[in-house]
């Protein structure tokens, strides 16, 4: 079958299919897709096959943890099975990449719950499209003392946090929200009003 990409780039067969597949990746336009495809033709056979196998592997092996909904190779994931972690504390994040960011700090020893998005009506994302029901089930079946809401400090992130607070407030003794305010390396002069107000509200004894 000849695709519109094949006609546009005068590429057919395997090369045309590769360009089209690469073009579907986020942030990759038709020109970049073509450049990457030609790079893969010229690169080492081992590197190109390694990339292909890695893609097949993630499709075959990666699944979602039945407890925290994070991506994992083994279900339950390593965070949920780690006995050194405090399972009574759940940090709720938007995306799997947020778990990696939190783990990089090395300061959090509780468990996670990944929502896979935030409430965003303009993008047709409602509560039913997020892993919120799974969080409720988890709270009902386990003893949880604290939920840490670590969604982004955007309107969508705040709305999601407020929604979970209202939904789960009666099921857990403490619901906390990550501190909001000035970032490290930030500039007071350029901060918006909301950030400054929150930074002032969250000030601590020095």
């Amino acid at each position: 079958m000849t695709s519109r990409y094949s006609e546009f780039f005068h590429t057919t067969g395997a090369l045309g299919r590769l360009v089209e597949a690469l073009n579907k990746l986020p942030g990759v336009g038709p020109k970049t897709a073509q450049r990457l495809a030609y790079y893969l033709i010229r690169t080492d056979d081992a590197d190109a096959r390694g990339l292909a196998l890695a893609i097949i592997d993630i499709r075959d092996r990666i699944t979602y943890c039945s407890i925290c909904q994070n991506i994992t190779e083994a279900d339950p994931c390593r965070f949920c099975t780690d006995e050194n972690r405090d399972s009574s504390r759940i940090c709720v994040v938007e995306e799997p990449l947020d778990v990696i960011a939190m783990e990089r700090t090395g300061s959090y020893k509780g468990t996670y719950h990944v929502l896979h998005g935030v409430l965003s009506p303009l993008d047709n994302i409602g509560p039913e499209n997020l892993q919120i029901n799974e969080l409720v089930t988890r709270l009902k079946e386990n003893t949880v003392t604290e939920i840490i809401l670590a969604t982004n400090p955007s309107v969508e992130g705040e709305t999601t946090a407020m929604y979970i607070r209202d939904l789960c407030g009666s099921m857990v003794s403490s619901i906390t929200r990550l501190a909001r305010g000035l970032p490290v390396g930030g500039d007071l002069e350029y901060a918006d009003d909301v950030t400054l107000i929150r930074a002032m509200e969250g000030r601590q004894e020095f």
Binding site: L122, N124, G126
Partner: protein
């Protein structure tokens, strides 16, 4: 002052409708402006934690932005928030209503289509929602406030239809163009307004409408926002007006509003608590 959008740099005021991640560090901002209608702009580097612009370009913010139009898609070179509506963003029910009006605006406008009345309606409604959220936060009666919020939504829906050119006919029968009867009238979404008693009995796909609902719609269509908010209507009448206006808006945007489902879901949570 309106700037020439053809020039390499221009400055405008607008309300952030939404932002979508773009690449590793950028965001595509949908901005509803007074001078150029809805525009889509790239905010470069805004997702970096150290970005000076990120807080300014949050959803619902009223901002003044400097725009560079040197590439295929215009990008924001600088900006500052004018109004943050911060109270509105701290109340879940009010935030969901703000999403509702922004979603309706996003559905009703086309890129680059200028409509100053619609911009003014959006801005005024956001301001009123912010004031209502402030009243709730200082301990005003929640039930009364929720009635006010619902009335504000009806005012917005009706005036959105009017300012977009889809005003429902509320004074004459849309079939025979004669004055309406004192009672027994109906309405037709497809025909765009009210139907008199005689035509109601002879025309298919016409729904009944109460006299009180007609009076209420006429009042909301002509009143200023502050005057409209003084109106007190019972829950049954509110439900009737809500259903009618939602049918009219759905006839234009041809889909259910996602934020409406979020509002219903939030209402279910609060009812469960009571």
């Amino acid at each position: 002052m309106k700037h020439n959008r053809q020039s390499k740099y221009y400055k405008t005021e607008g309300i952030v409708l939404k932002g979508m991640p773009l690449g590793d560090r950028d965001r595509l901002i949908s901005l509803y402006t007074q001078d150029y209608g809805r525009v889509r702009l790239v905010a470069r580097g805004i997702r970096k934690i150290s970005s000076k612009l990120s807080g300014h370009l949050d959803t619902f913010n009223r901002v003044v932005v400097s725009i560079s139009s040197r590439s295929s898609i215009d990008s924001i070179s600088g900006g500052e928030v004018v109004e943050t509506f911060k109270e509105l963003k701290t109340d879940l029910k009010i935030t969901a209503r703000a999403f509702y009006i922004v979603e309706l605006i996003d559905d009703f406008v086309a890129d680059g289509s200028v409509n100053e009345e619609l911009y003014s309606l959006l801005l005024t409604t956001l301001r009123e929602l912010d004031l209502l959220a402030r009243s709730i936060s200082v301990g005003s009666q929640r039930v009364t406030m929720e009635e006010d919020v619902e009335l504000l939504m009806r005012f917005f829906e009706l005036n959105l239809l009017i300012d977009s050119g889809y005003a429902p006919e509320l004074s004459m029968c849309v079939v025979c163009n004669q004055p309406l009867s004192t009672e027994g009238n109906g309405y037709s979404v497809e025909m765009g307004g009210l139907v008199g008693q005689t035509c109601y009995l002879q025309t298919k796909a016409v729904q009944p409408i109460s006299v009180a609902a007609i009076k209420c719609l006429r009042f909301l269509s002509g009143a200023k926002i502050r005057v409209a908010q003084k109106l007190r209507i019972n829950p049954v009448l509110m439900s009737e007006i809500q259903m009618i206006l939602q049918k009219f808006t759905m006839n234009i945007n041809e889909r259910k509003i996602s934020a409406r489902q979020l509002i219903d879901s939030i209402n279910t949570i609060s009812e469960g608590k009571q």
